[in-house]
Amino acid sequence: MEWETVIGLEIHAQLSTRSKIFSSAPTAYGAEPNSQANLVDLGYPGVLPVLNGEAVRMAVKLGLAIGATIAPRSVFARKNYFYPDLPKGYQISQFELPIVASGTLDIMLDDGSLKTVGVTRAHLEEDAGKSLHEDFQGMTGIDLNRAGTPLIEIVSEPDMRSAKEAVAYMKKMHSLVRYLEICDGNMQEGSFRCDANVSVRRAGEEKLGTRCEVKNLNSFRYIERAINYEVERQIELIESGGTVVQQTRLFDPDKGETRPLRSKEEANDYRYFPDPDLLPVLLDDAYIDGVRATLPELPDAKRARFVEEYGLSAYDATVLTATREMADYYEAVVKSAAGAEAKLVANWVMGELSGALNRDGIEVESSPVSAQMFGGLLARIADDTISGKIAKEVFEAMWAGEGDADAVIEKRGLRQITDTGAIDEIIDSVIAANPGQVEQYRSGKDKLFGFFVGQVMKETQGKANPGQVNELLKKKL
């Protein structure tokens, strides 16, 4: 039996405003519990919310970046339910009239082709606080620092057909919100997380299967594992004669499985209605155009430009534009690597640099080898001061803090030997020292050529210019 998976994601991105969405309390993460919640966040009697204009601007930025419709009039609504970390007994969100509707996001599939995922809507809302069940015997601790933190909830169409596509979409959105500087994207701190709606249907079937919602996935790896688990669970269930029940489920990363949280029957009736404390948000064209003018170059445009301007493959351009920081770094290296080809720079950034960053768990913006230093190194390859092989050694030394490329080359005496006379002498001595191999080579054993190159390089500690060595060896043999 052939099955098709259908996935839609609801991404919650925390907007990086300085203060909360409806109060002036700060939004910084990790402070002493309940130290960043003022009377409005605590839902005290008599207090009123006042909308943070910066949150609106950020939502509009996102909407424009995904080619969506920005609502000229959007409305905040109350979502009513009781929970101790929800101080007012309702969450202020948007329901019928969200600020952003009908956008799209292109993702790149494994085969290099593009797929367009629809974004149904994106709306502004406030986050709730945190309930801490572990630290208190028989009691629950409530930390309301997070209460009132601005979120944008981005709801996709059920357009994704595999966990991989879902991850690609999530990653692309993650990249986008960071390009736009509207979210720090910190998944561990919960600044960027998602709920996945997953269903399966028989191939060719039009009607969607019954879905389950897997809540609160805050790593790309969890999303993939949770969806794959859920897909298998649903298929097995149906194939063994059962039916999928609409449910909200939680993913347990330790066990690698999802388990039910509540069923549709147990779901809250949120009794949404327009929040009478807040006026509708009215946005005119002048405002929207003003925000549009502040948009940075977006990932897709940047990727196209990298292909065009630097002659990179689509794949390389995609990797290098995955984050704004990486793209900026790459371009800064190109600028400072005099004479080096952009393609060479791309290989080095994606190879040595990315490898070192991954190995040490460092983000590119805090790389110990700055773009200028890295450019300086690649310039030395381009002007034949060192070979690519030696450059790797220089890079490691720079990474370890030994200074810029020229300093390392000087200190370690790594300058390439390009003096023909000097290389000649070494070749002569190598030929003299290996008469047997010379004879074999001359009698047709071409493979031995590599042996002679190796010997010369060994004698020069790798500093001889490989091109010259090849050329001179050929003559002499």
Binding site: L39, L42, G43, Y44, P45, G46, V47, L48, P49, V50, L51, R78, N80, F82, P84, P87, K88, G89, Y90, T140, I142, D269, R271, Y272, F273, P276, D277, L278, L279
Partner: protein, 487 residues
């Protein structure tokens, strides 16, 4: 000359300016009166003598510096719905019996800044839900004109305190008539301003789209003085309107000649006491004599206002009162077994019956499957009612009629029948639904009980309404009468 305690704000302001009395003397006089007589009325929940005297001393010092404004040193009572820093703010509920507000409402802040002296916090229907002040956790308030009768509600304590001459003025709030109806029942001038005219910040919410703070005074002139200090934009309340505040007192004496007054025919329905109808006609005659043209108008959807109000107000209140969950402030039941138990018993014991009735109603009308039939429908009828008023104001400058169908009723008379109680607000609810300003002034007595005359203006027409009310009060003396038992 009347005694100090029964003077108006304007009179007292003059005496203070002339050095005839001091704020401390005035404050002491009134505090003594409250101490001696309030047990008969129960108009105060909290009396704050120390704070009052400190404020009075500060006001006198300010006057000495030559820094006094017209309200500096004048005492008042705040309805216990306004948050007052460091003072219990109960909202008439057991739920908030232990709640000491950590901040001042904007209204309190502004009247403080004007130099007014707070004598204490007045009794009220629980969370402002009631028309008789019988739903208060602190017990009912009695009407100084007849202590067997209610003072009206929800600002019952505020009106009783002013009518009994415990204070020259009080703040009130009006969600569906809660200033105008009690003012009518106690021979006072009660003003509910345009929605958005006065900040709601720090005023404990009942129904956010209807709530508005206003004044309870003896005269229109006093209302003009107080409103001037209370009104104006507040960046802490998104629904407050950024619009200049006129000097209301400056236009009180304008000539009314040529003013067009509309009288809604729907006000003269079968529920209206014929003697009240006669009093309204007499008041209209005063306006005719002042040169006003009185015409009939129709507000065909006005009769939908009570059912509309009793869908929208409960819906909003059910949500607004969700924050009273026993978790962070207010009443929490003893030894909760678990979260649900804490919610159920804290709310079950903390709220009274009328509040619970409205929470239940509000929860129901917003529920899946009922939203369209009730809440959405009510929003539509609300628009129809507002459109009726808008149409009327294309023809006339002010609307006039009765404030209530009858004078004050007896304690316990309507407590078993919420619908009859709700219908008492039939002439006042519509004004809140349309966000309009409404004013009630004394227009006479029926069997010794005062009745009120309602003046409704278009949005932000408070100056014209106060002008009309003041001119009426220059022609009549109903508003100068005080109850026999509280001379």
């Amino acid at each position: 000359m009347s005694e100090l305690h029964s003077k108006t704000l304007a009179e007292l302001s003059g005496l203070l300016a002339d050095g005839e009395t001091s704020s401390v003397e005035l404050t002491r006089t009134l505090l003594e009166r409250v101490g001696a007589r309030d047990a008969e009325l129960n108009s105060f929940i909290t009396v704050t003598p120390e704070r009052a005297l400190a404020q009075a001393e500060a006001a006198d010092a300010r006057r000495k510096r030559g820094d006094a404004g017209p309200l500096t040193g004048l005492p008042l009572v705040h309805k216990d719905i306004f948050c007052t820093r460091g003072v219990k703010t109960s909202c008439g509920s057991r739920m908030l019996d232990n709640f000491v507000a950590p901040y001042d409402a904007t209204v309190v802040q502004r009247l403080d800044a004007a130099g007014m002296v707070m004598l204490g916090k007045s009794n009220m229907d629980e969370f402002a839900m009631g028309s008789s002040n019988e739903t208060s956790w602190y017990g009912p308030v009695r009407n100084p004109w007849d202590t067997a009768r209610v003072p009206g509600g929800s600002s019952g304590g505020s009106v009783a305190a002013v009518a009994a001459s415990f204070a020259p003025a009080a703040t009130g709030t009006d969600t569906g008539g809660s200033i105008r109806q009690p003012a009518a029942f106690t021979n006072l001038t009660g003003l509910k301003p345009t929605y958005g005219r006065v900040s709601r910040y720090g005023m404990i919410a009942f129904a956010s789209s209807l709530d508005q703070a206003g004044t309870i005074t003896r005269t229109a002139e006093d209302a003009a003085m107080m409103l001037g200090a209370m009104a104006g934009f507040d960046d802490a309340d998104s629904t407050s309107v950024d619009r200049e505040v006129p000097v209301y007192r400056a236009t009180l004496n304008r000539d009314l000649k040529g003013l067009k007054v509309g009288v809604p025919v729907e006000f003269f329905d079968e529920g209206l006491d014929s003697k009240v109808a006669d009093a309204v006609q007499a008041a209209l005659d005063v306006y005719r004599s002042l040169g006003c043209e009185v015409v009939k108008v129709s507000l065909p959807n006005l009769m939908l206002s009570v059912p509309t109000y009793y869908v929208i107000a409960p819906a909003e209140c059910a949500s607004n009162l969700s924050r009273f969950d026993g978790a962070r402030f207010g009443y929490r039941c003893e030894n909760p077994r678990d979260l649900t138990d804490m919610y159920e018993r804290s709310r079950g014991d903390g709220f009274g019956d009328e509040v619970k009735r409205r929470i239940m109603t509000g929860t129901y009308v917003l529920s899946a499957g009922y939203y369209d039939a009730y809440y959405l429908k009510a929003q539509k009828t609300r628009h129809l009612i507002a459109a009726d008023f808008a149409k009327a104001f294309e023809e006339v400058d002010l609307l006039m009629g009765p404030t209530t169908p009858t004078p004050a009723f007896k304690l316990g008379e309507k407590t078993d029948d919420p619908i009859t109680m709700y219908l008492n607000d039939i002439y006042v609810n519509g004004v809140n639904l349309a966000g309009l300003p409404g004013l009630s002034i004394p227009m006479g007595f029926i069997d010794g009980l005062p009745v009120g005359f309602q003046i409704i203006g278009n949005h932000f027409q408070e100056a014209l309404m106060l002008n009309a009310a003041h001119r009426y009060q220059c022609e009549t003396d109903w508003h100068t009468r005080t109850p026999e038992g509280f001379k």
